[in-house]
């Protein structure tokens, strides 16, 4: 896997991420698995200086991106000058080392 899996309701087409057992819009239980598109738009972000134990850095930019197919997801924004509404390209990389294990997630540039 080199991206996230999101879920599209087979009844009402509502797009969800992360997973729910019942559609947030209509309670349907069948979903089509979908993946983020290559391009997305930044909805909001923050530059975090005080990070949790195990992340030895300052100024990590975390934001919410909306993809062209409607998925919304959090990820790391690799930009020195983030702006709401900016267009971003989707990547996949190590976002955190937890208990010695490299954890992969969404990154954007």
């Amino acid at each position: 896997m080199n991206t996230i899996t999101a879920y599209k309701c087979t009844n009402c087409s509502h797009v969800m991420f992360p997973r729910h057992e019942r559609c947030l819009n209509c309670n349907e239980r069948e979903f089509e698995e979908i993946e983020p598109t290559k391009k997305g738009k930044l909805l909001t972000y923050t530059v975090v200086n005080e990070l949790p134990w195990g992340i030895d850095e300052r100024g990590r930019v975390i934001g919410v991106v909306e993809f062209e197919n409607g998925i919304r997801a959090l990820g790391l924004i690799k930009s020195d000058d983030p702006k709401i509404g900016m267009n971003l390209t989707t990547d996949w990389g190590v976002v955190r080392v937890i208990g010695g294990l490299e954890t992969y997630g969404l990154t954007f540039h």
Binding site: F17, P18, T44, T46, V48, P52, V64, L74, I84, G105
Partner: protein
């Protein structure tokens, strides 16, 4: 349902309490509430402990069982109740329902957290465990980061400035100076945290646009309320304060799945439920304790619970309406900003402050003629919220 009242309250000052274990603090606050009520040797039917993460912070679980042992309340029922930063509110709600239903007559509710046992970045990590494990936590998101992303949208939408946020911290830290139980006892000025060219040295960015003085401190502490029936309250020491309304509501785990991330729906619904149960309106409230874990939240919550229209909360703040001597005092205790936020304790500490206010025992920070109080305890990032209406017994 029969009416439920608070007959006694207790609290230990919130601060860094290296000498006390979590259970030491719970015991001191619990005993304080029993003694305040003058309960004597009357039995306590149940003990509910609001606590978020004793297993992670203190390597101790089953803390409610430990507490009944310390207070010799056996064979009382004992449960720990966890709902993140709203654990205290959830514990009060469950105590209220137990007495209201007639199943119990006397319930001791104690909220507490000992967070300073671990270093700061560990505490940040433990608190971040309430976020979604694979959609949020892995990215290093923190609660200040969630609040930062929310603040950016909310400030843009409603024209809120950093000056408004600073006004919340200054007001609440001034109130905290009048509260001997508050963690932060320090006067701050607009110059020192915002307008001076070097203010950023005092007040650095935590998760922009939020700075240090937009965030509550990390504290140790515990608070307790003794819930009883109106009949028993008549035999006890103190004037009873009725919990006239309670409401709870939830929202999606992640912020990004809300159709409008600036809309704190669970806050609105919890408050509506509490007001409806109490049979009063937001305009009837004389004093409120809101969950200002971040300054932006005091403004946003004051609007979502119905005190002000959307976009008007900052104006009310600016005009002094929410000061202790204003039309609707908000956070006379100092709020989470100054009193501190030992997560499991907060919902109970809010109730304790409102009981002191409604009994006229709040000393220098007393709100004049307060009859109806309101509290809001905000769990997760607005995904599990409790609201309460408190009423002075006539």
């Amino acid at each position: 349902m029969r009416p439920v009242v608070i007959s006694g309250v207790g609290m230990v000052p919130f601060e860094r309490r290296d000498e006390d274990s979590l259970v030491d603090m719970l015991a001191a606050a619990g005993l304080g509430a029993m003694d305040d009520a003058g309960l004597g040797d009357r039995p306590v039917d149940a003990v509910y402990v609001g606590n978020m993460a004793s297993g992670l912070f203190n390597h101790q679980v089953s803390v409610a069982s430990a507490l009944v042992d310390r207070l010799n309340l056996m064979p009382a029922a004992a449960d720990r109740i966890e709902n993140g930063p709203a654990s205290g509110g959830s514990a009060i709600k469950n105590g209220l329902l137990a007495v209201a239903s007639g199943y119990h007559d006397v319930v001791l509710v104690v909220g507490g957290e000992k967070m300073r046992e671990v270093v700061g970045p560990r505490a940040t990590d433990i608190v971040a465990c309430m976020t979604h494990p694979t959609a949020e936590y892995i990215y290093g998101v923190t609660l200040p980061a969630m609040a930062g992303m929310f603040a950016r949208l909310y400030m843009d939408k409603y024209g809120i400035t950093r000056k408004h946020l600073a006004q919340v911290s200054i007001k609440n830290q001034n109130n905290g100076l009048l509260n001997p139980y508050a963690h932060i006892q320090m006067k701050i000025t607009m110059e020192g945290i915002l307008t001076h060219p070097q203010a950023h040295i005092n007040n650095p960015v935590v998760a922009d646009p939020l700075h240090l003085y937009d965030c509550c401190p990390v504290s140790d502490g515990a608070a307790a309320v003794l819930l009883t029936t109106t009949e028993l309250a008549k035999e006890l020491n103190k004037p009873a304060v009725e919990i006239a309304g309670v409401g709870q509501a939830t929202d999606t785990h992640t912020l990004q799945e809300r159709s409008d991330p600036t809309d704190l729906k669970a806050v609105t619904i919890a408050a509506e439920r509490a007001f409806s149960m109490a049979g009063i309106q937001p305009g009837d409230i004389d004093v409120a304790e809101l969950h200002d874990a971040f300054t932006i939240l005091e403004i946003a919550e004051s609007e979502h619970v119905g005190f002000f229209e959307k976009g008007e909360g900052a104006k009310a703040l600016e005009s002094g309406e929410t000061q202790i001597d204003g039309k609707l005092p908000i956070n006379p205790s100092g709020g989470l900003k100054a009193r501190g936020h030992p997560v499991g304790a907060t919902g109970v500490a809010q109730a304790v402050e409102l009981v002191w206010q409604l009994r006229g025992e709040a000393g220098e920070r007393q709100v004049k003629d307060a009859a109806n109080g309101f509290s809001l305890n905000f769990g997760g990032f607005g995904n599990n919220v409790l609201a309460f209406v408190f009423r002075r017994e006539a």
